[in-house]
């Protein structure tokens, strides 16, 4: 590495907080064994991270979530090294769930990657990101950090500098998978920070689903997990991406998802937030070709003192694309949920169809819901609408069910399930819907 690059690294007298924890040496250990261009990107992201101001509630996007809740100053950087584990042990994480490829990440490292032989034979690539950077340099160079750019935000820059356990998925042109690719990210190290990274490339006309599960035990000390995921769908590709967050107590989760849909591509996302103490999901769908379509679904159940923040963006950059968003959540205990969604229609993006719906169900006296459904429209030949509601359990519905001899608690569960029904109905992955139902049921309990 050239001498001049040292200038972009943290100075020894860097200010306290996140910068102190994520110092020079930590960054160098991340770069070990990587191609030089990849290290350069980390360094440049670190430079940007250092330049960007710390977010605070004074910023509109952090108005309802104090960034200090993420406790990044109370954690240490984890070691990215995790030994490969026995494939039989790894398989236990995927038991009973059909899949065409499986990735297990434990703490900061990739523990196992397994691709079914028939899938491998059709050219599907599932690798760690550093491996892919060597084997498929041009693809990784082109797309990594192109859709979630370090300059887009302090935490994206932080992840771009420190990511580990990166996963690269490429499904070539015309390949259709009938079983999803599954990723499980498991953390059991308290007091640490993790930066998972995912890059998914869907070739022209390919069709597949990805299910990412995030899980951990409960922690007494904070864990900070800041993940970035980029999904790029080429022409006429059809991709479903499900991110299911079931962290244990104590985890502070920041999940950034950027999707790009090209001409006639269909790119659907479902973001499920059930676990963690604080969870913030930033989901940005960019529609970049005529005929592109994104269904954006969200589902959350918060209880206790959980704090969930969803920030979404439907970015219509070209004409003749459509997007439809539906986020639904139920709030119990002293929980708090924020939804901020933006439909952005750029000049010239005529014939845009963009819809956005946010619905909250408040189950307890002390829960709080905030909705900010925003529109910025700079073209006139569009159909755009948004709707937001905040409501409570309908006493008449409850009464109706209870009058059939069902106890109150059970009746409430049924109503909440009914509330989630239309989100689940829109996900074209029946097996995954069943798993989601079970996971939600376990939470509502």
């Amino acid at each position: 590495m050239a001498e001049t690059e040292g200038a972009t690294l943290a100075r020894p007298d860097a200010p306290a907080g996140i910068t102190a924890a994520f110092h020079h040496q930590a960054l160098e250990s991340r770069m070990a064994g990587e191609p030089d261009w990849l290290s350069q990107r980390r360094l440049s992201a670190w430079g940007i991270y250092e330049q960007l101001p710390l977010p605070s509630r004074r910023l509109e996007e952090w108005r309802y979530t104090d960034p200090r809740l993420l406790k990044w100053d109370a954690v240490t950087l984890s070691s990215p090294v995790a030994g490969r584990i026995e494939s039989s042990a790894a398989r236990a994480f995927f038991a009973g769930k059909p899949s065409s490829a499986r990735v297990l990440q434990v703490n900061g490292g990739i523990a196992a990657i397994e691709v079914d032989p028939d899938v491998l034979g059709r050219g599907v690539i599932v690798k760690t990101l550093p491996e892919a950077a060597l084997d498929h340099e041009s693809l990784v160079r082109e797309h990594l950090g192109a859709h979630a750019r370090p300059a887009d935000g302090k935490f994206i820059a932080l992840n771009s500098a420190f990511w580990s356990a990166g996963v690269f998925i490429h499904v070539p042109r015309g390949v259709r998978l009938d079983r999803p690719i599954r990723m499980v990210r498991w953390i059991d190290a308290a007091g640490a920070a993790f930066f998972p990274r995912t890059l998914v490339l869907a070739g022209e006309g390919s069709s597949f689903g990805i299910v990412e599960e995030l899980a951990s035990p409960d922690f007494d000390s904070p864990v900070f997990c800041c993940g970035v995921c980029e999904v790029h769908a080429s022409s006429a590709a059809d991709v479903q991406y499900v991110a299911m967050q079931q962290w244990g107590r104590g985890v502070r989760h920041l999940g950034v998802q950027r999707t790009v849909a090209k001409r006639d591509a269909n790119l659907d996302t479902l973001v499920v937030n059930l676990g963690g103490t604080v969870a913030r999901s930033e989901v940005n769908a960019s529609l970049e070709g005529p005929g592109a379509r994104s269904d954006m679904l969200g589902l959350y159940f918060a209880h206790g003192d959980q704090h969930f923040d969803h920030e979404t963006r439907q970015d219509h950059r070209v004409a003749h694309a459509s997007s439809d968003l539906l986020y639904k959540g139920a709030l119990d205990g002293k929980s708090r949920a924020i939804f901020r969604g933006l439909i952005k229609v750029w000049p010239g993006a005529q014939r845009t169809d963009a819809y956005q719906t946010s619905r909250n169900l408040i189950l307890s006296k002390q829960a709080e819901a905030t909705s900010l459904p925003n529109l910025e429209i700079e073209a006139d030949d569009v159909r755009c609408s948004h709707a937001a509601t905040v409501g409570h359990l309908d006493q008449e519905e409850l009464f109706y069910i209870m009058s059939r001899g069902i106890p109150r608690r059970e009746a409430e569960r049924l109503v909440v399930f009914g509330f989630y029904g239309d989100v689940l109905a829109r996900l074209p992955m029946p097996g995954v819907v069943r798993e989601l139902r079970d996971a939600i049921e376990a939470r509502i309990g």
């Binding site: 905030t370 459904p373 925003n374 529109l375």
Partner: protein, 471 residues
């Protein structure tokens, strides 16, 4: 015919009310703002000491607050604020009879289309020419009922205790930068008091007019509606066109006591160089009913969000907002409802039209505090875009802390449909007429809530907008 041609040249480029009458003020402060100016204003009005102190404190707050970084583009505003006159007093005495009103001012009203005869219908006319009420009349039976409709200065002078008890209780100077500025230099506006149980059938009206170039208008209105009373207030304004920027920043405070009903109507048609930054808020007590009807057609930039603070059980707040943003205009408007008591209800309906480089922004807040059992709120925003350069934004904030609350928000964006046009034109209407009809239909839910003469005026304005719109 291509769509974009149907709506070009719709606009307010030729400003109908853009005439200027020669002004002869009695007193004109020097340009810009200073403690000295604030003292001069207070001295000129022969105010009590507490008001001077209030003004000076507000000036400090104004200076300490940063310029808002949200909403419209305020980058040029600092320069504007240095250039304006903070106080002009056009006449020394309040006029009691129409005959005493100077001819020059009468001419101005004439051009604005306020016929002399109208004052017989209008219950009381407080016409604001420049910074103060110059003409003020009140029907005898109202005086007998104990209704007070005075200039804000006379309100302070004649009813010092009533005034002091309520003044600045709804909008304190520290509320926002421009409320602070208004608190420091306010001049002109109305003081209205409707006694307990009194019903007023004919609306109280005030006409506003800014005349002198670079003159800021800091009107201040305080309205107290006592228990069980029922009244309506109408404010309309229009200003002549000038080349340099102008500035208007009003503060309107309304107190609705238990079971009282009140409606406040504004149609704002400032000239297109005006910054219009207004704070208007009503405190609504138990069983009270407040309705804002807010029309924004003129100005360069308007930032105005009429608010209802529902602080008593069963209080109701309603905001009907209509905005038209033509080329070069930004209407950043909307409404706020704050529920802080059980069984409170509210509704916001917003309709906006943007054309050319015009930008219409809905910005609103619905906040329901914990303990506001069974509060209900409904917000509806519809935007109509007249061509491909127009822009519309919707920024609603919905903050709910109460389990039993029900809140709904809906917004739609659309353009004039080719099919709708075709249908009307096949019935023999010209494209221009058809477009005007569609626009009228779009604003109709709000227009029909306006008093007749305002509905007529609004429809006339729409027609003016649509004239020559088809090239």
């Amino acid at each position: 015919m291509p769509q974009n041609e149907t709506v070009t040249g719709l606009g307010l480029e030729e400003y109908k009310y853009g005439f200027v009458t020669e002004d002869k003020p009695v007193f004109k402060a020097t340009k810009g703002l200073s403690e000295e100016i604030v003292r001069q204003i207070s001295a000129h009005k022969a105010e009590p000491e507490w008001m001077l102190e209030f003004r000076l404190k507000a000036l400090e707050i104004y200076r300490s607050k940063p310029m808002p970084a949200w909403g419209g583009d305020l980058a040029q505003l600092d320069a504007v604020l240095d250039e304006i006159y903070y106080y002009i007093k056009p006449q020394e005495r309040m006029e009691r009879s129409w005959d005493d009103v100077p001819q020059e001012i009468k001419d101005t009203f004439e051009k604005l289309g306020i016929p002399e005869a109208e004052r017989k219908v209008l219950a009381g006319v407080g016409a604001q020419y420049e910074s103060e009420m110059v003409y003020h009349s009140l029907k005898k039976e109202w005086t007998d009922k104990g209704i007070i409709f005075e200039s804000i200065e006379d309100g302070l002078r004649l009813y010092p205790d009533l005034f002091r008890e309520h003044f600045s209780t709804v909008i304190p100077p520290a509320d926002n930068k421009f409320a602070a500025l208004n608190s420091a230099v306010w001049s002109g506006g109305s003081f209205v008091y409707i006694p307990k149980g009194v019903h007023v059938d004919i609306p109280l009206q005030a006409y506003f007019r800014v005349n002198a170039e670079r003159m800021g208008q800091f009107e201040r209105t305080l309205i107290i509606v006592e228990e069980g009373a029922n009244a309506q207030y109408i404010e309309g304004c229009t200003a002549p066109v000038y080349s340099t920027e102008s500035f208007h920043s009003g503060v309107i405070e309304i107190i609705i006591k238990p079971n009282a009903r009140f409606r406040y109507v504004t149609i704002q048609n400032w000239s297109h160089n005006m910054y219009n930054l207004v704070t208007q808020r009503a405190m609504v007590h138990e069983g009270g009913h407040m309705e804002w009807l807010d029309g924004n057609l003129g100005s360069k930039l308007t930032m105005k969000y009429p608010s209802c603070y529902l602080v008593g059980p069963g209080a109701h707040g309603e905001i009907l907002s209509i905005a038209y943003a033509g080329p070069g205009q930004h209407q950043d408007t909307g409404g706020k409802v704050i529920h802080a008591a059980p069984n409170t209800t509210s509704q916001i309906i917003s309709k906006s039209i943007s054309r050319g480089s015009g930008r219409a922004t809905y910005r609103g807040l619905c906040k329901i505090y914990e303990g506001s059992d069974h509060a209900k709120s409904k917000v509806e925003c519809d935007a109509l875009l007249l061509d491909e350069k127009a822009r519309t934004d919707t920024f609603p904030y919905i903050e709910i802390e109460e389990q039993s609350a029900s809140v709904g928000h809906e917004a739609t964006v659309s353009k004039i449909g080719t099919e709708q046009l075709f249908y009307l034109m096949s019935r023999g209407l010209s494209e221009e007429e058809a477009s005007a009809m569609i626009v009228r239909g779009f604003i109709e839910p709000i227009a029909k809530k306006l008093p007749l003469e305002y509905a007529v005026e609004l429809n006339r304005l729409v027609e003016l907008e649509m004239e020559g719109s088809v090239g």
